[in-house]
């Protein structure tokens, strides 16, 4: 995970649900993440997938990602190039799916109110800061487990590393 990055903002409203982020009709199709990205936000903002650039940031209202547990709703956005999502709040499963995909989901209602569509903003993960044109907002550090998952670039890598460490330890003991 990059510690500090800047990007252009795509701003959306409250209650952006998983069906408009990644339509249900695709959820049981075998797709690589890059292909999922082509459908990101398809039923909310059909122009998003073709215009989004690597390093962009999504800023949204409350309850981002409500609805289905479909993980593609997080993966599609991550692979579209989005580095981080800032929202007033996140739906529970979406928050977990974002973290588990290695994509930070930051809750900051104050920052959301201050940021406009198209703004350039900077996120400092290490110091918990969102820096806008005229302001600076802080967000609390993630719990240790969550930080470790993000630093491993997602849950699967985190588990892989953990298993490898255990195996190395076993070998040493032998």
């Amino acid at each position: 995970m990059i510690k500090k990055f800047s990007g252009r903002v795509w701003k959306y409203g409250d209650n952006v649900n998983t069906d408009v982020i990644f339509p249900g009709k695709y959820t049981y199709q075998k797709m690589e993440p890059e292909e999922m990205a082509k459908h990101a936000l398809e039923d909310l903002d059909p122009g998003f997938a073709s215009k989004v650039k690597e390093g962009d940031i999504i800023v949204a209202g409350k309850n981002f990602g409500m609805g289905s547990s479909r993980e593609q709703a997080a993966i599609a956005i991550k692979y579209s190039g989005i580095k981080v999502i800032i929202a007033k709040s996140f739906a529970r499963i979406y928050f977990r799916n974002a973290i588990n995909a290695g994509m930070p989901a930051i809750k900051s209602p104050e920052a959301v109110d201050a940021i406009e569509n198209g703004d350039e903003i900077t996120i400092d993960m290490k110091n918990g800061k969102i820096i806008t044109k005229n302001n600076e907002f802080t967000f609390p550090a993630y719990p240790k487990t969550v930080m470790e998952i993000l630093e491993s670039n997602g849950l699967i890598n985190f588990i892989k590393n953990k298993i490898k460490k255990q195996e190395d330890l076993c070998q040493k003991e032998q």
Binding site: R92, T145, L155, K160
Partner: protein
Amino acid sequence: MGKTFVEKIFTKKAKKDVYAGEIISVEPDFIMSHDNAAAISRTFKKIGVKNVKYPEKVVIILDHEIPAPKESSAINHKEIREFVKEQSISNFFDINNGICHQVFTEQGFALPGKLIVGSDSHTTTYGALGAMSAGIGRSEVASIWATGELWFQVPETIKIILNGKMPEYITAKDIALYIIGQIRSDGADYKAVEFVGDIVSHMSIAERMVLCNMAAEMGAKNGYVQPDHTTFNYIKNRARTEYETLYSDKDAKYYKTIEFDISKISPSIAKPHTVDNYAPIEELEGKTIDQALIGTCTNGRLIDLEIAAKILKGHKVKIRTLIIPASWNIYREAIKKGFIEIFIDAGALVLNPGCGPCLGAHMGVMAPGEKTFSTANRNFKGRMGCREAEIYLGSPLSVAACAIAGEITDPRRFL
């Protein structure tokens, strides 16, 4: 200090005292997945572990696209069948069983005091039997298959008290939609929800399953109804394993308590395109509808079919009407009770148990400009496969009345 139900279950699992807010890593008792087990098995293989750690805890139930409507779904199913064989997963239910949440419950996996996770947001349903059950993502399931454990944040709990006298035209679905209309779709975000009160104690398991299923639409991590004689009767001949019933302490600390008197509520509707877009049915009377859907993991149980049969008996439907029993056990019971014959005589289509059109995969997809009145749990834009279509949600009683009238109508007229 007293503990809530979820604090107790996580204390038991973590083998140390834990309270709301703590993050712990523990081993769930059962891990449910459905058609997405194909994608999960691919992620599992990437982890590099050869065998599923606890195959006896894995439950896989095919329900989302059954029978396979296209080649890609057939390939998914095939991959799953091969995977369960290779991993000796015996709790596998193929396409001839029904909707995962109904089958999981009927088959005696949903038990008091169990910690259950599933790669489906409506995994909250098993709280109706006194389990702690929550939806998780696919990678999370893959990682539990590999390691046996997962990280959890112990949630705070909201107590929802349902008081009053339940009118005969009000169902658990009307109550759930009414509550969601009041507290909104994020009203219980990240929280556990306990449903208590006289109304709940008098509910059948099927009705409690509606409340806990719809807890997902309040944003809740889980829903919970305290086990009682109704619960114990239901699981008596079903329980797969031993279980330990856990209850909240009297002095447990709740995030908040909300009380509803449901004596005077109207049949409820969720208008497009969010579940919290509540309206009493009077407000929508006369709205024309193109398709009626009775079924899904929310309202495809015997009690729902019974309600629909009472209304449809001796009538002809005016619009396309799809009826989907939630499982083949329910289907068989509905045949014995004569409901299926009533549906066929009324001109409805009785479809095979499964998720059907609820998620827009097949069997009842809409055209642009069309409207469905459904007993499902979600009405998001595009949910049923078409972003220019509209979905209204209501009880089986309201949807059955609409099927005859061809428009939304107050079901009290038919009682």
